[in-house]
Symmetry: none
Subunit: 295 residues, 2 copies
Amino acid sequence: MNLRDLRYLLAVLEHGHFGRAAEACGVSQPTLSVQLRKLEAELGVALLERGARGVSATAACRRLLPHVQAAVAEADAIQAEARSLRDPLSGPFRLGIIPTLAPYLLPRVLAGLRARLPNLEIEPWEDLTDSLLERLRAHDLEACVIATEPDQPDLLSRQLFAEPFLAALPPAHPLADCATVAESELARDILVLAEGHCLRDQALAVCRTAASQPMRAMSLVTLMHLVAAGYGTTLIPALAAAAAREMGLVVRPLALGALRTLRLVWRVRSPHRAAAEAVAESIIALVDREFATSR
Amino acid sequence: MNLRDLRYLLAVLEHGHFGRAAEACGVSQPTLSVQLRKLEAELGVALLERGARGVSATAACRRLLPHVQAAVAEADAIQAEARSLRDPLSGPFRLGIIPTLAPYLLPRVLAGLRARLPNLEIEPWEDLTDSLLERLRAHDLEACVIATEPDQPDLLSRQLFAEPFLAALPPAHPLADCATVAESELARDILVLAEGHCLRDQALAVCRTAASQPMRAMSLVTLMHLVAAGYGTTLIPALAAAAAREMGLVVRPLALGALRTLRLVWRVRSPHRAAAEAVAESIIALVDREFATSR
DNA sequence: ATGTCATCATAGATTGGCTCTATCGGAGGG
DNA sequence: CCCTCCGATAGAGCCAATCTATGATGACAT
């Protein structure tokens, strides 16, 4: 069976006339005669009642008609949808982002991304680095933003910006009065995120210490609440500084100015690389220059 | 655009592999390569991401997929409907049956069904009620026999026969000497099937008790073996009585005579409704009247 | 009645595209 | 670094859709 023949059938039913239907289809009248006879033979059912004065549908044809129309309509829908997807910078784009970045980066860039890439439907997906890379390789994400450098050869990445780490302290903390905080001082009572967060490893590396606290904070917000409640100090990425200050924390630069580098990662042969690169460029352009050293 | 190419696309997506998809379609691998490249060119959209280890759908493809599936499904519906218009009582007929009924009902009726409906190619499919109904609605089955009443408005059903429940006991059991077994007595050490079997729920309801045993019996045969080995008693449907006796069990009627009602279920607008009704009539006529109260 | 018109069916030639076999090229894995 | 797997490409062959030209049939009018 062929979509073309189904269209022929619909045309003949619509016009009630082989000749005019053929004209509407842009083919000759014998073509319709032959093809529709073949269709009837293939289905084993008479579809058309050929009268001397025009053509009408048989009862069987009326029974099939809804499916015929639906099939043709779906085919048309495929073409219509494809037309709107033809632009490489359009269509759904599932973007993974690590949890220590997502809530602070997305509000700053989402509106701008929509403005710059109006046909790209960005669907953010928040998860830990390993899960993101797994999903990326399983084609469940088109790209993701992470703070480490993926060394898999099937992935490409583009540096977005560098984000300094800052010390977050309770106001009453002795270090709160210093203009900058020494990493070794911060290490004394630092609280870090649960395993799996790259920020955990990076914070411990910056402070050259190991985790000791018994708690298991799954989000930066939790961690900052703990600090605000006086349970210790922590190290936050710069984009989270505003949120930390709003929670009453004191935020100070680190003495040695450690930072993390955010990258956009995608599959090396992804058909969405053009969109990924456009997303990367847009994010670079949109992120506040206050702290960010782009590229 | 061509329905055939859409089927090729679905096959490649399903198998994730051009070679195997080609085999499934009955064509050569280059055919799929060429045709799908053409389809992509025609739509102006990359549909497949060809990796070294298999093929997957692009985001655009995922967007188009529902329409592709719908178009192919409608084409199949046309053929199915045409076939049923040609001869409603012919063609493949996938018949789902619950596991507590299939091995006892099928031997009694299959030959008779073939004799009464020689052009209907009945393909039995055994599964739990929920899976059967799911498959029925997904057009993977034409009808199914279950022991509960489906309340979905897109399904129709026809009562087949009522099947009494019977107590199955080890010969040495105290209740084995009674002419009838009281449900409350049976409840004391009743063994029931695993979750998902409607017979499990019905047995527990009949005995007004809750399951307590640690074992997880996936078939009536297993259950009867356990009873034969003296682990307890159980409740079986009447058609399984002969099998139970052959395993050395004692079978007794229940005091209150509980029973289950078997029904044939099909989709309300199925092109196979005539065949389904003929199957129902035939089963009713064929089932042994010994215990069955046919409508 | 019979010619005429309208309409669909048929015949034979042509063309285009689908499919095949054979082979290439590239990417991973050992 | 070689080997294997898998998709892409090339070129030939064949089938089917289409065209033009013509036939067949029934309605209608004179």
